[in-house]
């Protein structure tokens, strides 16, 4: 049951991600990206990391992507940008990246499929995460908060500048 669900989620994630990178309509791409994130979140759930899974839904799919959608709506990149985007996305652009990514994937395939013996997977609950987070990883938490503060200030500054005409 679990493994079937995993393959289903993986399938959805891969298909949705492929669609993300090939769509010309930004909003559609974003919706596919949300689907991909939800599928990944489901995989997290199957791996027993329900806290991470819910964070993925709440923060990633629920907040970060909304921000994207906001900006897309502000820039008018949905259906209006489709024509422009189609111009930018010429087929010949795909060859090089596809090759490079193929090579990379192949390398990883060799690497990962080499570990043939199965490993047991263990669930990790939120309590364990919390204890580690505020124990040995306290400095990381502080750094992350610093990063968020910097991001906040940076985003505020960047968008503030925009309002001044001719600045």
């Amino acid at each position: 049951m679990t493994i079937l669900l995993f393959y289903l989620a993986a399938f959805v994630a891969v298909i949705a991600t492929s669609l993300v990178i090939t769509r010309t309509n930004a909003v559609h791409a974003l919706i596919y990206l949300i689907v991909s994130l939800l599928a990944t979140g489901f995989v997290f759930l199957l791996l027993g990391a329900y806290f991470a899974a819910l964070l993925e839904v709440i923060v990633y799919a629920g907040a970060v992507m909304v921000l994207f959608l906001f900006v897309l709506m502000m820039l008018g990149l949905g259906r209006d940008g489709e024509g422009r985007e189609r111009e930018l996305l010429q087929p010949h652009l795909w060859y090089g990246p596809a090759f490079l990514c193929g090579v990379l994937l192949g390398e990883w395939g060799i690497l990962f499929l080499g570990w043939s013996q199965p490993f047991p997977l263990h669930a990790v609950d939120a309590k364990q995460v919390g204890i580690s987070l505020l124990g040995p990883y306290f400095l990381a938490v502080e750094l992350a908060s610093m990063l968020l503060l910097a991001g906040l200030v940076g985003a505020y500054h960047l968008t503030e500048l925009q309002r001044r005409p001719g600045a």
Partner: protein, 315 residues
């Protein structure tokens, strides 16, 4: 404790949700009329109770029209997301011992996740309509829900801290001795305000402020798709009321002369009435006032509540 309830439970509760939502529309109209000293719908059925049925039938049989300038797929998808999120949320509420659809040990987190996903409904509707007012309404709705969701989550964390679990059922169980409305009074008030704003209900109904934005994000919607928005909103109200009851008012607990489910429904009904009363009684603030109130007042208070709770728990 993981697992799904029986098929009867699933059908019953979800169907019940829709019925209650429909009923609520009628109750709202009647109560509004009563408070405004007029009659309200009273022609179809006894006390006009069938008025909602008639409206629903009308919506079902209306021409399925999608504006040609819209982004068709997304246009259809948007109301579905809203309704689905609300219904899924309802499935996580423990109504009474043994009554409830899903029983997860992180149901509160799930609810918050669903709440954050429900933001997409107005946002995508606003985008897909490809029209000025829906766009503005969608942006407003998204920013508002988005912000108040944060305060809602933070307020609820006080309760989580006291019980040490995300499981709503355990949270209710632990309120046997005393409801959390006492120790978490501040959290309760914050949660209530955030919940009203989260559902875009009056007085926080700025995304669909008629005077400014016609009907906000669902200006271009009609027929059953409009109905889904409509019903979805009422289910959202029920969901949030149920959540408040669960978190702060002891869920199904009450004196033994009534069955637990009855107590739950009673408390829920009280909150639904409160929602309606709020709509009648309070004027609408300006949008920037709403946002400033959220970030300048609610956020610090929610953090304060959290710190106070943590200190209470530690010492």
């Amino acid at each position: 404790m993981n697992g799904l309830g029986s098929a009867a439970d699933i059908g019953g509760i979800l169907g019940w949700g829709i019925v209650v939502a429909a009923l609520m529309i009628w109750v709202e109209r009647r109560l509004l009329a009563f408070w405004q000293e007029r009659l309200g719908p009273n022609r179809v059925g006894p006390f006009g109770i069938m008025q909602v049925m008639a409206d629903m039938l009308k919506l079902f049989f209306k021409d399925e029209w999608v504006p040609p300038f819209s982004d068709r797929t997304v246009f259809v998808l948007a109301p579905v997301i809203g309704m689905m999120a609300a219904l899924l949320g309802l499935s996580l509420i423990p109504f009474a011992p043994g009554v409830g659809v899903a029983d997860l040990n992180f149901s509160l987190l799930c609810l918050l996740g669903l709440a954050s996903l429900s933001v997409y409904s107005p946002l995508l509707a606003g985008y897909a309509s490809h029209s000025k007012y829906p766009l503005l309404g969608g942006l407003r709705a998204a920013a508002q829900s988005f912000s108040y969701e944060v305060f809602m989550g933070l307020a609820a964390m006080g309760v989580v801290m006291q019980t040490g679990t995300f499981d709503l059922r355990i949270i209710v169980e632990s309120q046997r001795e005393g409801w959390y409305i006492g120790p978490q009074m501040l959290g309760f008030v914050l949660f209530l305000i955030a919940a009203v704003a989260e559902t875009h209900r009056a007085p926080f109904d700025l995304p669909e402020a008629e005077q400014e934005l016609v009907a906000g994000f669902h200006t271009e919607y009609s027929g059953i798709k409009f109905g889904m928005f409509f019903v979805g909103e009422y289910i959202g109200i029920i969901l949030n009321s149920a959540l408040i009851v669960t978190l702060y008012l002891g869920g199904w607990w009450g004196p033994a002369f009534l069955p637990p489910l009855a107590w739950f429904l009673l408390k829920l009904a009280g909150f639904l009435a409160l929602y309606l009363l709020l709509r009648t009684a309070l004027p609408r603030p300006r949008y920037d006032q709403l946002m400033r109130f959220g970030w300048m007042v609610l956020l610090p208070l929610a953090l304060l509540n959290l710190i106070a709770t943590a200190a209470w728990e530690v010492f």
